[in-house]
Each structure stands twice: as C-alpha cells, then as structure tokens.
C-alpha cells in the first residue's frame, strides 16, 4: 500500500489556501510502506501565530532564578491589574468548591473571584451531565481538565491545540499526585469539600511553575520521552554497572541524570520507569528549592503516578558533581543511611574510573549540531525511539537562536505531532511547507521522526535526507541512547 503523503501549502497566513495531495506516488522510495490510510486534518496555522506581541522578558529562561523572579514580579497581580489578562498562558488549579489552589500569575487569593467564575462555568456544564472541555473566545483558548475533586484550567493566547494544553494540565495533575498521591486527594475532599489544598501544596509552586515553563521549551514533554546525555557507550555501561552493584532492600530504581539528561538507569526487570514519572523526577531535581544548592543529600517522599499512584516512594538524591545527580528510589522510608553509604561507593567507583569526568565533559561540550550530519538544508529534527521512549535532538542552531524562535519551532512540531496522532488511521508520512520551513514527519511503529528543512527543499530531497539522517542516528545509537538498560 502506498505510504501517504499530505502536502499543505501555506498561503501566507491566509485562512483558506491549502491543497492536499494524497499518495501521489512520488514517495515510493520511502522504505516504510506500512499501512498508510488516514488523512491528517488539514490546515496549517503555524504561520499566523506570534503576531509581534513579544513579552517584555525572555520567557525561555527556564532557570529556577528566572522562574522565581517572574513569580515575584507578578505576585501581586489580580484580575483587574493591567497586564494580568495579557499573559500568554495562565494555569489555574482549583478545588471543585471553587477555592483557589494555584495560579501561575498573580495572587491566587486575590483572584478568588475569577476562580469562582471558573467553578461556575464548570459546574454549570457539569450539572447537565456534560463535561466542559474547551472554549475559544477571540484569540484566547480556555481548556478545562478535571480529575476527581480538582479542576485544572489553562487560559492561553498561544494558539496551541487544545489537546496540547490539556496534556499540560494532565502533567500538572501528575505533579500534584506526585506530592499527595491520588487517593489522599480524594479522601481530603470527600470529608471536607471546603478544604483549602494550599495547605498541603504550599511550597510546591516552584515545581509547578518550572514544569509549565519546561513544557514550553523542552521537547521531552511533547514527545513523552527522555533525552539521554550523548556519551561514550563504555562510560554509560560502566556507570550502569556501578549502580547495579547497589543492593539495598526496597531499592527500585537507581539513576544518574545530568542537567535533565539521562545518563543511565537501573531498574527491576519487570518494571520500566515511565517517562512521565522520569520527567517529574527531573523537574523535581531541577526546581526543588531544597535541592537548589546541590550541597546536601536529600530524602523526599515522592509518588510516581504511573508506577503506583496510591502511595509514596522515597527518593534519595545527591549531587556527584555540579548538575550530575544520583537518584536512588526506594520503597523503604528508613534506608536513608544505607543510601548514603551506597552513594559514597558509587561516587568513588565512577570517579576513580574517570567516568564522572567523562560525564561532566559531555555536559560541557554542547549537544551535537546539525552541521555535524552534513545534510544540506537540515535545520533541526526530533527522533524518538518508540519502544525505549527516548529521543534525540540536535542543539539549537540558526535560525533557532532566540527563545522566541525556538518556541515557534516547538509549536510547529507540536502542531504536526497533533496532526499525525489524532487521525483515525496512522499517517505515516506528513509533509508540510510553510514560508519559513519544510517539515517532514515520519511515523512508524518503531520510531517517530520530525525533520525540519529550509523552506525550499523539495519533497524528494527531503525524503532522501531523512534516510540519510536515519543512517546517521543508527551509527550513533550507542552514544545517543540507552540501548540495554541494566536491570536487577
């Protein structure tokens, strides 16, 4: 069966102008024939967004300091403050009684009237045995997600698909669960619907802020996959075996991360670590105020919602070097001192072998650039290995230098990922041309590839380049991915 190609020619932001050519045969040379079939919903909005309204600060600084500064800057805003309605993306958490729990911008207490309105909207629809999912008012999209006694609302002028904003809200819910566990949240409100959950979540605002920021800048969330540190396979293996030797009762996972990149992970044979759980851990390590100075070891109760959302595990974390964090995740609350002893052993072993130095070197020498691949016209790509839930991407390079450009590209990816995943039948190949770039998406059962070229790259060349790109990734596989994760 023909692989299916959809072409969308964007006419300079005009609403209509699109043409679709189905399976016009010229893509026969693509290897994955597969079972084409579906047609992605047409339309290409990407050229219309970003109508010049830049915000006064760089939203893409996702350092904890920048996030905290932003929170302070807007802390006193209320619904009537000038500027409050102008924020790009609001996120709110409220109880089903309409009490405020979290606001990304502003003082949630002073916004309590606005929270009341949100609750009224939700409960009005709810009363008719229906569920409010999203609504669009002018250029603002409201997306609602409810889970048990909690409501999550995103109000965005970013023109992102509602499905993506809903995913953001689900991530935020997972974060809340990671602090409180799912049944505890339900029980709290079952017995007292008026409960003020800020009491239990106080102090987690930086984690929620950070997660929301990361979702705007880190493709991991978009892909539901983790990115590994590019590292010699032998170093990764050596760190893995050092971790494997840690034997403490109750220990589930041992991992080393380097600035939100995975170095390696040891796990029980039958239980992988779900990427969402891993992303929550990485966000915690990055944004937790208690870990910020990297000096002290910490021991934190932490629920991994996709592992088991009914109880806490215990996360021991310790920085081996700046940005390099060892995490030991255990079912036992009492093993802090055992963990500490283990950390000392692991640290000694990987330092002596020169592996820690290799990791810090790898962190310092930027990710690879697209130039390294020698593929003409290639600007950027995302490659996700479906079975391992890991992905790789090159470092940002021209024209994606500014935060604004990077976000724009992420939104293009987001849009395309949305298109190829929401159609009933899998679209195997999707080709899109806009004023600023050509994008080719290629989805199979084993990988997803999203490749961005300059605007004038013809389809045939793009497909040939993708094949070349796949060959390069294959040749680098051992350094880009954890191919065989050690188990115990």
């Amino acid at each position: 069966m023909d692989a299916l190609v959809q072409t969308v020619e964007d006419v300079a932001g005009a609403s209509g102008g699109e043409s679709e050519n189905e399976g016009d045969g010229e893509d026969e040379d693509v290897r994955d024939g597969g079972d084409g079939g579906g047609v992605a919903a047409g339309g290409n909005e990407e050229a219309e967004e970003e109508t010049g309204m830049e915000i006064e600060y760089d939203v893409y600084d996702v350092s904890n300091e920048a996030i905290a500064a932003r929170r302070r800057k807007h802390a006193h805003e209320e619904a009537t403050s000038p500027g409050w309605t102008q924020h790009d993306k609001h996120v709110f958490i409220l109880s089903s009684a309409g009490k405020p729990i979290y606001a990304r911008y502003g003082d949630e207490s002073r916004l309590s009237g606005f929270f009341g309105v949100l609750q009224a909207m939700i409960s009005f629809v709810d009363d008719n045995d229906d569920e409010l999912q999203h609504l669009v008012a002018g250029d603002v999209t409201y997306v609602f997600y409810s889970n048990g006694p909690l409501y999550y609302v995103c109000v965005a002028r970013t023109r992102e698909p509602a499905s993506h904003l809903r995913m953001l809200l689900q991530y935020v819910h997972n974060l809340v669960v990671s602090v409180l566990t799912a049944p505890y949240i339900v029980r709290l409100f079952e017995q007292r619907p008026h409960f003020d959950l800020r009491r239990m979540l106080g102090g987690t605002e930086p984690l929620i802020d950070s997660l929301i920021e990361l979702m705007d800048s880190d493709p991991s969330y978009l892909l539901g996959a983790a990115e590994c540190l590019r590292l010699a396979a032998s170093v990764r293996a050596a760190v893995g075996s050092a971790l494997q030797e840690v034997k403490i009762s109750g220990l589930l996972y041992a991992l080393v991360i380097a600035d939100s990149h995975l170095v390696t992970l040891v796990r029980p044979k039958s239980r992988g670590l779900h990427p969402i759980d891993l992303l929550l851990i990485m966000n915690f390590v990055k944004a937790s105020p208690t870990l910020r100075n990297e000096a002290a070891d910490s021991w934190t109760p932490f629920c991994l919602p996709h592992f088991n959302d009914t109880g806490h595990l215990h996360v021991y974390s310790s920085f081996l070097a700046s940005g390099v964090c060892l995490l030991l995740i255990s079912t036992e609350a009492e093993s802090f001192h055992d963990m500490q002893a283990c950390k000392d052993r692991v640290a000694t072993e990987i330092t002596a072998g020169g592996h820690l130095a290799a990791i810090t070197d790898a962190m310092a020498s930027q990710a690879y650039s697209v130039d390294e691949l020698g593929i003409p016209g290639l600007l950027h790509f995302l490659y996700k290995s479906v079975s391992s839930r890991q992905y790789t991407a090159p470092a940002w390079s021209a024209p994606y230098i500014t935060g604004g450009e990077q976000r724009r590209l992420l939104r293009v990816y987001q849009d395309v990922i949305e298109k190829v995943h929401t159609v009933a039948n899998d679209v195997k190949i999707y080709y899109q041309v806009s004023q600023s770039e050509t994008l080719l998406a290629w989805v199979t059962s084993s990988f997803e590839l999203y490749v961005v070229f300059g605007p004038l790259v013809p389809k045939k060349l793009a497909i040939a380049s993708c094949n070349k790109l796949l060959r390069w990734i294959k040749s680098q596989e051992g350094t880009l991915f954890i191919l065989n994760s050690p188990v115990w």
Partner: protein
C-alpha cells in the same frame, strides 16, 4: 509543609431577589451603594481580605441571584462553603418567611458534614426604612434561636449600618468551621515493595 498563614473562606449569600444581597456586598467590599436595582444574573464573585484574630483571611464571597430564573448554576455551586449568609428585607414578610426554604435548599445542596452546626448568619436588611418595617427584631431573633442560635444582624446597606460587624462575624464563624480540618488526618501511606502494581504501562529504556 503546612503553611498556616493563608486562609480562604468561601461565603455564599442567599435570599430573595431584591433584599439587598448585592448591595450589602458592595457596601462591605467597595464601600459603595447604589439605589438602582440591577438583578444579579447567575452569580457575582468578590474578594475581600480581613484580619480575624491575628490571621489574614481572604473571603471569597459568592453573591447569588435571588430570582429563580437566574438560579441555574447547578448543585456544585454550594459545595464546600464555609459560611452561608441568609438575607431578608425587614419590610417584606415574604422574604423572611422564605428563609426556611433558602436554608433547607442550601443544606440539601451543599450537604455539609455536620448540618446542625454549619455556620449560618442571618441579616435583616433595609432597616433604614423605619416606617415600613414589618418584621420585628424579636420575631427574627426567635427564628434564629430556633435554628440553632444563628447570629442575627440588622443592617442597612444604604446607610452602612452593622455591615462591617456582620461580615466580621461571618468571617469569624467561617474560620471556626474551616479550622475543624486540622483534626488529625493520616498522611498518605508508603508503598510496600510487594504491593501488586495497580497499573504498569510501558516504561522507559
């Protein structure tokens, strides 16, 4: 982790149309009064910060519509209220007689855990219209005592009589109810290694 500094109280104001619910709230929150009547459609929300016994309290005041045709916000609306304010017009007996049904309606819809001790406050409004008065203080007080010693205030939104005092009591009683939460509550349990995994999806790596 408990941060005890912030408290938010959900206060619902109920009563027949025209008794002055919106006016009382406006007088309290914005120190304003208008003699023009604008029916509340659905609900209005206002926020007011007050100090109650050394604690900074945010009152989230839900002003509802007295007119039946606008009462369409659903059951969930009353959920989780910390205090319910019942308002009548001392010059209109019907509005006083309807207090019973407002109270019952609230208790049914909100379903508080301990309905007998749920904090209500009753306000007899428009006392500035002295010569038209139809419901005596005594009669109102008797009803309030009967319903479990509900605090009663005679107010005028127009002349700003007793408004501040009434809302202070509302906040105080709501806070008492809210405080009950602190009665011991076990934190979530830890997982035992041999717990059966409730769900196991495909993992990473």
């Amino acid at each position: 982790m408990a941060t005890r500094k912030k408290v938010l109280l959900k206060v619902i104001i109920l009563g027949d149309s025209g008794v002055g619910k919106t006016s009382l709230m406006n007088q309290y929150v914005n120190s304003k009064f208008s003699s023009q009547y604008k029916a509340t459609i659905g609900a209005d929300f206002l926020t007011k910060e007050v100090m109650v016994e050394d604690r900074l309290v945010t009152m989230q005041i839900w002003d509802t519509a007295g007119q039946e045709r606008f009462q369409s916000l659903g059951v969930a609306f009353y959920r989780g209220a910390d205090c319910c304010v019942l308002v009548f017009d001392v010059n209109l007996p019907k509005t006083f007689e309807n207090l019973d049904s407002w109270r019952d309606e609230f208790l049914i819809q909100a379903g508080p855990r301990d309905p007998d001790n749920f904090p209500f406050v009753v306000l007899g409004n428009k006392i500035d219209l002295e010569d038209q008065r139809r419901i005596s203080t005594k009669r109102a007080m008797t009803w309030c005592t009967l319903k479990g010693n509900i605090p009663y205030f005679e107010t005028s939104a127009k002349e700003n009589v007793e408004v501040e005092q009434a809302f202070h009591t509302i906040a105080k009683n709501a806070l008492k109810q809210e405080n009950d939460v602190d009665l011991g509550f076990p934190p979530p349990s830890a997982i035992k290694l041999h717990d059966p995994p409730p769900k196991q999806k495909k993992g990473c790596c």
